[in-house]
Symmetry: C2
Amino acid sequence: MNEEALEKFISLLRFNEDGLIPVVVQDYATGEVLTLAYMNKDAVLQTLNTGKAWYWRRSHRRLMMKGERSGRVQLVKEVRIDCDSDTLLILVEQVGGAACHEGYRSCFFRRLRGDGEIEICSERLFEPKEVYKE
Amino acid sequence: MNEEALEKFISLLRFNEDGLIPVVVQDYATGEVLTLAYMNKDAVLQTLNTGKAWYWRRSHRRLMMKGERSGRVQLVKEVRIDCDSDTLLILVEQVGGAACHEGYRSCFFRRLRGDGEIEICSERLFEPKEVYKE
């Protein structure tokens, strides 16, 4: 996509007061919702320029390519925009299978049971300690 | 769920500085992502007490049951919580088929094409003017 088209797309987006837009990340093949992340303008640009997902990591206060340490990058297959233009949905191929730093395919690996208890509803694909060593 | 269990669940959640938590809403049957909405504590309580989705509508600045005007309510089948406890994912049965006030099944009815243009990628199920008359 050329620079003009990129800028035109970005000008459509309604970033919040922190300059961020929430991004629902969905597995392209399975439809599973993997995570909710945030992009700033640069993250949108980097994502569209590279075809890999870049996010503004609020806890680290910096722009990061998803998987830059773990190799578990997300290849972006499609970008959708909601009716209010204040949320994105991206469909991705999750390299390595697991999107969550806790080792699960999805960050939404816990569900609320009818009795109020929380239970894990997904299989752990890797042991976080083995991947994030420092 | 009893009041104690409800309070325990709510105490797990990390609401943002505005007292809100983002909620990814996914169709239980099809896996389609319908919308991203926001709940405050009362919305979570009402949702869990009634089995129907209630949201804090930021544009209206009030708590609303989804579909209270249109009848297009969302019956909540499952509630998931992410690894950081700052986002919910709810799986719903969308009564009437369309979640979006624009008449589409999903609020994410527009996609970015490779050439930078935006195209509609979903079928319109109702004409908004016919439903929201006032």
